[in-house]
């Protein structure tokens, strides 16, 4: 499902003396089945943009096309359930939203709200728990007796069980250990590749953006600063540092090496694997 934003503007506390502009003139396109990363400094408006994707916030100007539905500024929107089902959002620290007595009931909360019958919802809960890498036995336990990392997984399973077409992730791995972080990101990526899920990732990690995204949206001071493929974005270090970001570690490493070698490598490598491959190829050629 495609999502298109056109000149979207939002202000917090609009119409009160505390009014504050959050985003303005934000336009970009999230094509169906793609993995889009939104990067930017804290306060750049990433989270505000994200809440527009399933109409938790309504734009004050501009419009948003979500699949076949168009949300226009100033119009009263009714019956947003379908949009909310199709666009699942995993908020930052989603473990704070758990409330049920058992993990199973909590995961079923979303599906029940969208009218999925009991048996099917339970089946979805089992599948979702497996997807996030937890044993099925966890279903009968209280979410509050799990560890922080497990709670995070349960919360993510709760959104996956809604079977959304678009999965929006706001820093889903913040505070997880490196292993959990890697597993989680791989899981999202495989869902996108195998099931055709559209993924939107808000992240501070340039490494994740470089590795997984098909397209990157750079936000700065409430505006879209630049969009492009990871190669476009990370080739231009100056525009990244200008807004307080930087290239991924691998790119930094490659640049240092190029300085030592006195010549550039034939291509920009975004992941350690790519760089290793490139270096071994160079070595074979020089032998």
């Amino acid at each position: 499902m495609d999502i298109k934003l056109r000149e979207v503007e939002y202000r917090y506390a609009a119409g009160t003396p505390f009014e504050r502009l959050a985003i303005t003139d934000v336009s970009f396109h999230i094509p169906s089945g793609e993995y889009v990363a939104i990067i930017g400094h804290t306060g750049s408006g990433k989270s505000t943009v994200l809440q527009h994707l399933n109409v938790l916030l309504k734009p004050l100007k501009g419009e948003i096309e979500i699949g076949r539905r168009t949300i226009v500024a100033g119009r009263k929107e009714k019956n947003l359930k379908d949009v909310r089902r199709r666009v699942g959002i995993v908020f930052q620290f989603p473990e704070h939203q758990l409330f049920e007595e058992t993990v199973e009931k909590d995961i079923c909360f979303g599906p029940f709200n969208f009218g999925v019958p009991m048996e099917q919802a339970k089946k979805r809960a089992r599948e979702a728990v497996q997807l996030v890498g937890l044993p099925e036995s966890v279903l009968e336990r209280s979410p509050f007796e799990l560890s922080g990392g497990q709670m995070r997984r349960v919360a993510i399973a709760g959104v996956l069980a809604m079977k959304p077409d678009v999965l929006v992730l706001d820093e889903p791995t913040a505070g997880l250990d490196p292993r959990g972080r890697h597993d989680m990101m791989e899981m999202f990526s495989s869902l996108q590749k195998k099931n055709g899920l559209t993924c939107v990732l808000v992240t501070h990690s340039m490494e994740d953006a470089a590795r997984y995204a098909d397209r990157i949206v750079m936000m700065h001071k409430g505006r879209v600063y630049k969009t492009g493929t990871p190669h476009d974005i990370f080739r231009d270090r100056d525009s990244l540092t200008a807004i307080g970001l930087d290239v991924p570690e691998t790119v930094r490493f490659q640049r240092l090496m190029e300085a030592q070698l006195g010549r550039p490598l034939s291509r920009l490598c975004l992941t350690p694997e790519e760089l290793a491959e490139e270096l071994s190829r160079m070595r074979r050629e020089s032998l």
Binding site: F18, K81, R84, F91, F99
Partner: protein
Amino acid sequence: MMEKIILGRYLPADSVIHRMDPRAKLMFIFGFVLIVFLANNVATYALLGAFTLFVVFLSKVKPQFLIAGLKPVIILILFTFFLHVFFTKEGELLAEIGFFTIYKGGVIKGIFISLRFFLLILVTSLLTLTTPPISVTDGIEALFGPLKKIKVPVHELALMMSISLRFIPTLLDETDKIMKAQMARGADFASGPILERVKAVIPLLIPLFVSAFKRAEELAVAMEARGYKGGEGRTKYRILAWKSRDTVSLVLLAVLAAALLVLRS
């Protein structure tokens, strides 16, 4: 939606009123609340009104903030006004609409009482608009200090108050976040029959309680880790300083009270 609450917010600025000692402000408000009840005719209300406007002017608070703060209580003010208009039967008869009769005395009384309400709320909201909550607590702690002698835990009460004030915005933020997270999972807080709506609050309340308790525990541990053990022997970071302007403000209030006593009928 939480961000629209204006009543009780502090607006940082630099004015005589902002710089006043919170103890003086609290005493002033207390005195003002008492003497508002002295007014009972046009002259006294005019004097009170002029005085209040003067204070508002001194505070440099933009009128729009005060008006926005008054919005939630405007219904209450209107209600009292109409109550008096319809049910006070004094003076000459002005109009008769079916069952209702309106007397001149009722209209005058209605205006006076709602004016009294209006002035009280204006001045008290000026306190919160010009004083950071933490200073209000400091002021209260200092004013009630003598009660420590009769074993009233003044310091602990003040601490409780400042902690609760400190966490109001945090909790509001948290409520907003959890609400959005549950709405993203299809929860509906705004429509449906009343029973459904009460049930819909559970997914909001439980996470809120969980996080409030967690936060309380973390705060307690953090305070203990830094050696906190109550008010005994604890020095202060913010030291209250009574200046001549504070004395002047209370003298002005006394003059106002005297003038009202002379002018009231």
